[in-house]
């Protein structure tokens, strides 16, 4: 499946500069690009400096509201042209959102469009943050917080203007998404670009769970989580005993039902009792979930179930209690001891 990379970040945070440099790198030569610009006349394609047929600009509105169907149709059409040999055989797709876009509906569109099923996989969500203005933006703009909260990677731009990353900004990023690795990008130069879209789902979850464990350990001295911005927090739910398949299903349904759009992202590597030798990968954005996929084998010696939640106003205590109650009830119904 073709990896799709979502490049998001608030207005002026350096997305287009990054993209322009990225697609000039030899390893990104076979990349299709979709740019969404909010406004009547798009300029980003000029700034990026490409205009071949694997480059599409959507300017009719913001991706997260008006042009979601346009996005899906565009990708379907690009894939058809690629299959027919009309455009280059691109190996990845990069979508640059407008700076005002809420990434969640875009992720929904990518995950649920029947025409894209089996053809693309959401590989990476990259969020740019302007080190010079990020503190204020994150304090004032809810959409900016969401862009950070769902990120797989956070790229800090313009650190040359601030002589490093401001401490307050680091604290804000810790609060919103302690797990996403942060890297510094100056003038669009990103040393880690080669790894973009390279990780498979399961590996990504393992890395994420490890980072969450580290973040939790680092915060162990601070029991008060209430300072999190806009109530967004991230935590990992661990289980050493495999989960019954029906318990996993009920848990995901109940989470979606109870938390809805407050469940910003959920990723997990799950030991399913009926098939524990292969971990199942769960992946959801708000109430929309990918179908379960299965890893061939556990990627490390850690065979615990690890479910990572990034959510707004949803407490770890609630999620833990929900899963425990469902596990106990399923065990009781199946005649097993708790």
């Amino acid at each position: 499946m073709i990896p799709v990379i979502l490049l998001t970040g608030f207005l002026g945070s350096g997305k287009t500069t990054l993209l322009a440099r990225l697609i000039r790198e030899p390893e990104f030569a076979r990349t299709a690009v979709i740019i969404n610009e909010f406004g009547e006349v798009g300029l980003d394609h000029e700034l990026v400096g490409r205009s071949d047929e694997s480059f599409v600009e959507l300017t009719t509105g913001c991706l997260c509201c008006k042009v979601r169907s346009d996005l899906v149709e565009t990708i379907v059409e690009m894939l058809a042209r690629r299959d027919a040999g009309v455009v280059m055989v691109f190996e990845r797709i990069v979508i640059e959102t407008s700076g005002l876009a809420d990434p969640a509906p875009i992720l929904h569109a990518l995950m649920t469009a029947p025409g894209l099923s089996g053809r693309i996989r959401l590989a990476d969500i990259v969020t740019t943050i302007d080190a010079a203005t990020g503190v204020v933006t994150l304090a004032l703009e809810a959409v900016s917080m969401k862009q950070v909260a769902v990120a797989d990677r956070v790229l800090l731009t313009k650190t040359d203007l601030t002589a490093g990353v401001p401490v307050v900004l680091s604290q804000q990023l810790d609060a919103l998404n302690a797990t996403a690795p942060r890297e510094i990008v100056i003038d669009g130069r990103w040393p880690g670009a080669a790894t973009l879209g390279g990780m498979r789902d399961g590996e990504e979850v393992v890395h994420l769970a490890e980072r969450l464990d580290l973040a939790a350990a680092a915060r162990a001295h601070d029991a008060d989580d209430r300072h999190h911005l806009d109530g967004i927090t991230s935590f990992v739910i661990r289980r050493s005993a495999p989960l019954a398949a029906v318990a996993l299903t009920l848990f995901l349904e109940a989470l979606a039902e109870q938390c809805g759009s407050d469940l910003l992202r959920l990723k997990g590597l799950v030991a399913v009792a009926e098939h524990p030798e292969q971990p199942a990968v769960v992946h959801g954005v708000q109430h929309v979930f990918h179908p379960l996929t299965w890893f061939e084998r556990w990627p490390s010696r850690d065979h615990d179930t690890r479910i990572v939640c990034i959510a707004r106003g949803v407490s770890r205590g609630f999620v833990e209690a929900l899963l425990s109650a469902i596990e106990a009830e399923v065990a009781e119904v199946q005649g097993m001891p708790d």
Binding site: E257, G317, F318, A321, I326
Partner: protein
Amino acid sequence: MQALLVRLLAESVRQWRVPARVAIDTDGAVRVIGLGREIVVTRAGDDLPFRWFVKVTTPGQAAAQRPALSVVSVLRQVRLQLDPAYEKQRIRVAPPPVLPPLADPSGVS
């Protein structure tokens, strides 16, 4: 099981920011009191096709009792009583591919 249900409901009312109290009676009934209502959750008998009863008493109205298939159903019923803004979301699962993947000329899989 009831202890886990008490914990779940206590965490839930905190999350919904509803001023309510959750307690367990000596007979195992779980009681949630808030917003002028009393909700009592009891186990259904083993001979019944559901697992719980949820009984809601509102001042000036006759008590209403409904069965619940699972703790998830109990949670839903309690929330409907205590959280007027609640709109449940149904899980949506992205469609799996209905055809095997095409052979890819780039070798991307």
